[in-house]
Amino acid sequence: MISFLASREARSALPRVGPYMLSISLGVAALVSIHSFRQDVARSVRSEAQVLMGADARLTTSTAPGEGLLGLVDSLGTAGHEVGRVTSAVSMAASTANDAVRLVQLRAVDGGWPFYGEVETRPQGVWSRTTEPGVVLVDEALLTQLGLRLGDTLEVGSGAFEIVGAIREIPTEVGLQTAVGPRVWMGMEDLAEADVLGFGSLARYQTYVVMPDGGDRAAIDTWYADLFAAESIEFSTAQDEARDLTNAVGFLGRYLSLVGLAALLLGGVGVGSAIRVFVNERLRSVAVLRCLGASQNQVFGVYLLQAAGLGLLGSAVGAVVGVVLQQLLPALLSDLLPVAIQPRIDPVTLAAGIGIGVWVSVVFALLPLLRVREVPPLRALRPDVEVSGRGARALRAVAVALLAGSVVGTSVLEAPSVADGLVFAAALAVTVAVLWLAALAGIRATRALLPDRAPWVLRQGVSSLFRPGNQTVAVVLALGFGIFILGVVGSVQQNLAATLAVDAAESRANLLLFDVQTDQIDGIETLFPDSVRETVEATPLVPSRIVGVKGVPRAAFDSIRYDERPASWAVQREYRNSWRGELGPGEELVEGRWWPDAPEVPEGVVRVSLEMDVAADLRVGIGDRVTWDAGGRRIESEVTSLRRVDWTRFETNFFALFEPGAIDDLPVTWVVLGRAGDIEARSALQSRIVRAYPNVSMVDLGRIQDAVDRILSNVDRAIAFLAGFAAIAGLLVLAGALAVTRGERLREAALLRTLGTDSARLLGILGIEYTLLAALACSVGLGLAMGASWLVTTQLFAIEFSAGPGRIALLAGGVLALTLVTGWWGSRDLLANPPLRILREGD
């Protein structure tokens, strides 16, 4: 009986309720696409792990390999493991055919690397010639940028090389790396001949090992831990790399899945509204069924089954849309992805998406459906009989518990961790509770504050909020929740984008020179045109390593308790320190005092100012000692101030700054920042500098800016894309929430017309009611959204928060306008048609 009736009734329900059920489709589509995409990325990266590294494991140092490392590599070779080396450096490359120059990334290789994967070259199969003396292979991009052809000569450092091939694709070079500059591949001996590895140059020495056995790799990691620490060797496996790459994309994925969940829950709210509308329209049928002898459970079953069926339909539509989006996402994020993504339709993900969609539909439909049980059979005879009960108390409790449990459950499932899921669910609970209380308070306040002598239209509009059987709480909840989600998503996106964006207007310099020796600074300055010479700014760099913290030598750090031990990244990295008399424009003192007022230190100790985050990771504060090794000399320093640094500015900034005069006598190189007009002017200047000082490398910051902008626009596009989902779902929820009261409103308006109310006053009454509802929902929803956005930006992403009043006003105005338009749309047939028909329908 139940399925028979349900299927018959659903046919007529579909056109009425179907559009609102689309809100669940949006949620399911978002979830299915994000999950599938994340799986695609993880699978693609995992299967390509060895190819991405070109080996199974890698040993990296930032200085030429020490004796211990060389010994280890020898013994690995003896043990039968294939070993290959890659040394990377940056240098300027110049064309002999014309004067064009370009910063390039040099890659000197020997051995059989890459051991996995294919390098695609033009002409085909010339990769093996890389190690031949006197020849190079270059990225296709370099040929275009320098106007070169195969067979031409490329000058690198003090050497000249024949270009014998172009690299079309090499799987080990991914993502952002390409932004620094095109690559030039040569043999190890040629690198020595080019002589670009001067003191302090940015170089990286890598040894690649074929070691398919995971046990071997783990053993190396443990056995040689001391050596790795002593010689600052970074040991990583292809699996580590793949995991890091997946995690990098995971940052985005994590945010996206929360957006997806928000869209799904919004969809649930939409379903709730849709079912409420549906139940309102079916009260007569329910009463008739009850008259004919259907039990409470039977009528409840009939409508529950319909809700599930509509949910299934909506979810299936969503799954299909999700699969389409899954195919689009890789293209949208192409610049961020390390490997080519092969989208694969995973039946389990699809089924899970549809399952969760149906479940959310049913759970959100339960509360409004309980009303069906309370319809008295008498209503079939007397349509004005009130359906007073909202369901038996016990049943309502069960429905609420199911709903709450489902929200917590899905949050924990979707969020990156159980704790994050609980926080997310708690935030939702707080939102709903505050909205609910605000709605009740709003009803009370309007009732109390409404002056008895206010104009009738105003009183009539306002009184709709607190009339018996009003839907104020339901509408404010649905609308406010939608606004909350939109507000959070929009605000977080804005804050992320603002943080990631590099402010172009503030970066005065557009040319960066490094590896400049002290005696070259004056000469380089004279090469800049007179008009811009004063923009040239030289900053010293002192390559240093940390050898001790708070008097504990680095070798003994392992004996420090874990929670007090300096973080290994902060200890092992190669520091490029500097000295400075004044704080830079992107710096701010947060603790201690800047020199010359900084506290005095004993003889033989120098004062240092640390960047606050690195200080925190080194577990040091004001007054603590840090011991450095700079070119073999030991420097004992005392922390006298901490700085906050805005790293997004194109300026030279440092983790550690010394006071002028303290370390001037150490081995030093310089970076020079300058401004040199447009791209042609910069190219010409680069040519002049590289001819005069072949050891100096240059970065055209303008080009980098372009590359960064391109990648950022990728991220922005992906986020905006999914935020769009939440927005559309929010609109559907809004329409659904207003549709809940539509029938009642139409009847009332028709009656008012019958009694002689004209259109202007009718519109006034509706306008006042909708405006009040929107204002109440907006103020509470947006207030909560700002709170949640502050939490997410500062706690989850650890970035600065700005509320963006302009955006808030825009969102509030938009919601108000949409509410009014939706309200007007729902009432237009009333304004267009004579009232009699509506009165008759009402009977």
Partner: protein, 221 residues
């Protein structure tokens, strides 16, 4: 004086024309009490809907005291109703958001007479229909008979020249219905209103001075 000429209303049902009124000619004098009777589907509600300007005819005209109401437009007719017409419905049709008193005040508010004097008048009328103690109750808190008494008070509060009553006792038991009819008669006498009743109840129809019989959309002799 209400004058209807050639009043015709054709609905479209399933793509086919469905005539409900077929050329009605009718005159109702001032202060007359007329009952419109006829079997279900004979067009009774449609007829008074047209006489009150709640719907527009397919053809024909209605003139009330010299005003061609279908020349007025939807809003013009609404304003005309506010000034001249009162209604009592079978299912009461009170505004659920308003108390009994506020429901009665609505027509006065629409005329801009909702001030203290208006409130007094509304209160007095509620007293008159026996609901002086229940002015602050919402419709959902009133019984059917009480709701209909509020509706009667609302219908008379603006001193309309014409009152339309569509099955005013249809949803009420016999005793309660009788009280409503008495009220209508008394108030009609006092206010000198033209009263047009639609009813199935032949006894009620018999109390009217004139009976208008409808059969299949036409006036029956």
């Amino acid at each position: 004086m209400i004058v209807a000429r050639g009043l015709e209303k054709i609905y479209t049902s399933g793509g086919r024309p469905l005539p409900v009124l077929r050329g009605i000619d009718l005159e109702i004098a001032d202060r007359e009490i007329a009952a419109v009777v006829g079997p279900s589907g004979s067009g009774k509600t449609t007829l008074i809907g047209l006489l009150a300007g709640l719907d527009v005819p397919t053809s024909g005209s209605v003139r009330i005291d010299g005003t061609e109401i279908f020349d007025l437009g939807e809003d013009g007719r609404a304003r005309f109703r506010a000034r001249n017409v009162g209604f009592v419905f079978q299912s009461f049709h009170l505004l659920p958001a308003l108390t009994a008193l506020d429901n009665v005040r609505v027509p006065l508010e629409l005329l801009g007479e909702g001030g203290a004097a208006g409130e007094e008048r509304a209160r007095a009328l509620l007293e008159r229909v026996g609901l002086g103690e229940r002015t602050d109750h919402y419709p959902s808190q009133l019984s059917g008979g009480e709701q209909q008494r509020v509706a009667v008070a609302r219908a008379f509060v603006s001193r309309p020249r014409i009152l339309f009553a569509d099955e005013p006792t249809g949803n009420l038991d016999r005793v309660t219905g009788e009280r409503i009819v008495q009220l209508l008669e008394e108030l009609n006498r006092e206010a000198e209103t033209t009263l047009i009743l639609v009813t199935h109840d032949m006894e009620l129809a018999g109390r009217a001075r004139r009976t208008i019989r409808l059969a299949d959309g036409s006036l029956a002799p």
